[in-house]
């Protein structure tokens, strides 16, 4: 099979992995070497679905010994299969990189022959890139659940980022849809990577020459809408992953029906709005000091599809508002709907020189559509006569048409899914 055909098959198979980020690492180029990394990451293109392309994201192979129901690569599925040789992957990476198509490689794989066998092939790729080709661009690899710890550790010495995809956010989901995988299979390597990262940090304090281990940290991905799990389950899981395993990112992927297996839900289109809401909530956890339990609870375990999670929280806590723009501290500003990280910083900085009024805020580029209902400037309130959650809600919702996901996802449209969170407009 020629390279073109293989590439077509194996990038097509990788496209459901949401992550394409090249951030978090500041690897330097070496003498006679090729490439380096940029801490903030760089997008090189945007595909027709509008997602950022930063890395060459491919599977080593889509031949799989497993048969996970939700996955296109499941062994029972009839589709064209291919396998790259490690040399081919190396060659593509180097030549794409030189032409500035990519920041580096994101290599993943289905399970070919056995987890260890597959992991060894991945190791061969990353080792050749780093040692033989002196390549210092970005490398992200998946670990194959069930692969030997030693292999995982060795791969980790060469790459910038590693990920194990959780995919299904609960044990029940796994039992139903991926019966050969257990929670342990997935969490064990995550814990192992985490411990190695910590250990390497400690060692580096004593021996500066300690080799790196996954310097850009680990990430994971979950499918939204393939199981019964509600948003609260998902968000709680993410929160604990951030807290206990120090994950850099959790990615979410709206379930796209890839088979008609009766175990899978019947849906017409992927739940994009729901995915979007979960992303917003995830942002609130990581950059806005929110906790999952503030955003959802047992009585309201799912997000309001018409309203972003921050507005939703604010309306339920209307007694905390309005806040005075000239007095509120950074943390409080961040909790105002419509004011994001960048806006809050600009307000704080401009306040040092003058007392801000409503028009100053406009000049600063702060979007007031939502914020105006929750703030005062010099004591003056710009929303409606009195602060009434019902009325405010009716002003700021995005109507969610009869159970159908609309395409009008406004707020996250400008997210490239690159880690450059400042560019998210930051303004949730």
């Amino acid at each position: 099979m020629d390279k073109l055909k293989k590439l077509e098959i194996l990038s097509d198979a990788a496209k459901y992995d949401v992550s394409c980020s090249s951030s978090g690492s500041n690897r330097k180029n070496k003498k006679d070497g090729l490439g380096n990394t940029s801490t903030a990451g760089i997008c090189h293109s945007w595909s027709d679905d509008g997602r950022c392309i930063s890395l060459l994201k491919i599977l080593l192979t889509n031949y799989c010994v497993y048969d996970c129901v939700y996955c296109v690569n499941r062994s029972s599925n009839d589709l064209p299969r291919a396998i790259f040789t490690p040399e081919e992957v190396v060659d593509l990476t180097i030549n794409f990189y030189k032409r500035n198509y990519i920041e580096g490689l994101f290599l993943s794989s289905a399970v070919f022959k056995s987890p260890d066998y597959t992991m060894e092939l991945i190791l061969k790729v990353v080792k050749t890139l780093r040692e033989k080709e002196n390549f210092n661009g970005y490398i992200h690899t998946k670990t194959i659940p069930g692969a030997d710890d030693l292999l995982v550790e060795e791969v980790g010495r060469y790459v910038d980022r590693m990920s194990v995809n959780i995919e299904l956010p609960s044990e029940n989901g796994l039992k139903l849809l991926a019966p050969k995988k257990t929670k342990k299979d997935i969490l064990k390597p995550m814990g192992f990577i985490h411990n190695n990262i910590l250990q390497t940090k400690e060692d580096k304090k004593i021996f500066k020459a300690t080799p790196n281990f996954v310097p850009a940290g680990q990430t994971t991905q979950m499918i939204v809408g393939a199981t019964e799990d509600n948003d609260l389950n998902i968000l709680n899981l993410s929160e604990s992953l951030y807290k206990t395993l120090n994950l850099k990112r959790v990615y979410y992927s709206a379930f796209i029906p890839v088979s008609t297996n009766p175990k899978l839900p019947v849906i017409n289109s992927p739940p994009l709005v729901r995915e979007n809401r979960i992303y917003q909530a995830d942002w609130l956890l990581r950059f806005y000091n929110f906790e999952a339990k503030e955003l959802l609870d047992e009585r309201n375990p799912n997000f309001d599809l018409e309203l972003d999670p921050k507005c939703n929280w604010a309306l339920r806590n209307i007694h905390l508002f309005p806040v005075e723009i000239n007095k509120a501290d950074y943390k409080t500003l961040l909790r105002v709907p419509g004011i994001g990280v960048r806006s809050a910083k600009r307000i704080i900085s401009a306040r040092n020189f003058t007392t801000l009024d409503f028009f100053d805020l406009k000049k600063l580029g702060i979007v007031l559509k939502r914020a105006q209902h929750f703030i005062t400037c010099k004591g003056k309130y710009f929303g409606f006569n009195d602060i009434n959650p019902e009325i405010i809600r009716s002003q700021i919702i995005t109507p969610y048409k009869n159970g159908k996901d609309t395409r009008q996802i406004s707020m996250f449209d400008n997210v490239s899914f690159e880690d450059k969170w400042m560019e998210i407009g930051g303004e949730i």
Binding site: L4, C43, D48, D49, G50, N95
Partner: protein, 246 residues
């Protein structure tokens, strides 16, 4: 009303700033010679570039305001926008009063305008590091064409030099007819008036086909969203984009 007209160089701009600070009648415009349009209401003040005066302004900005401020002024200059001269002048007037904290004073219109214009250039610099495409041409040279809004090829040169240490490369700004040339050791910016024919001829490349194949396959069809794509990657940049030229 007097318009300062300078030769388009950074030194020329800084000389204009110098003159403006000491002049009794302040200019209403500071403009590059090539952007100047005759207008019978305005008096023309031709500024003769003086590297000594320019140097004084340069170090005054750096020392009395901040190196960051100097960076902003330089970026604003590279924007090549017609109002950049006056934005810089007004910003510096505030800057010399406030000192190193000037950039925090975003409620001030002049500071805000500087913030916007330098950010615009910084944003394009970043964008071009991503969407510039090299192709291999004769004798192992990587060659890229770009047509940026602002004059940023010298800003991206260090980035590519660091990455592609061991390669020869040319970054050709076809709008301004200049290019960055790097020879595995150092880079310079030179005028490119006439292109060698081998540069113009698009060499066919297997890797370009592979890249286009990849580009197509990686998109999720059920989520196609051309509006989002264009917002992130405006169409004016597609001209030299390998994946958009089939």
């Amino acid at each position: 009303m007097i318009s300062y007209i300078y030769d388009g160089s950074f030194d020329g701009l800084l000389t204009s700033i110098y003159e403006a600070f000491y002049a009794k009648e302040k200019p209403t415009d500071i403009i590059r010679e090539e952007d100047f349009r005759e207008n019978f209401l305005v008096e023309k003040g031709y500024i003769k570039t003086d590297s000594e005066k320019a140097r004084k302004v340069y170090s005054a900005i750096e020392n009395k305001i901040s190196p960051e401020s100097l960076r902003r002024v330089f970026y604003a200059y590279l924007s090549e926008l017609p109002d950049s001269g006056m934005i810089i002048l007004r910003y510096l007037q505030v800057g010399f009063k406030i000192g190193s904290d000037v950039d925090l004073n975003l409620a001030n219109e002049d500071v805000l305008n500087m913030d916007k214009i330098s950010r615009l250039v910084g944003k394009e610099r970043h964008r071009i590091t991503g969407i510039l495409r090299f192709k291999k041409i004769k004798e192992e040279i990587l060659y890229a064409r770009v047509e940026p809004d602002h004059n940023i090829i010298a800003l991206v040169a260090p980035h590519f030099k660091e990455r592609l240490k061991g390669e020869n490369f040319i970054i050709h700004d076809t709008k301004r007819e200049i290019g960055v040339f790097y020879n595995k050791k150092e880079w310079i910016v030179k005028d490119i008036e006439r292109l060698d024919p081998f540069l113009v001829k698009d060499s066919e490349e297997i890797y370009e086909d592979l890249w286009r194949t990849y580009f197509k396959a990686i998109s999720i069809q059920t989520k196609t969203n051309p509006k989002l794509q264009k917002r992130n990657m405006p169409m004016r940049y597609w001209k030299y984009l390998t994946e958009k030229n089939i």
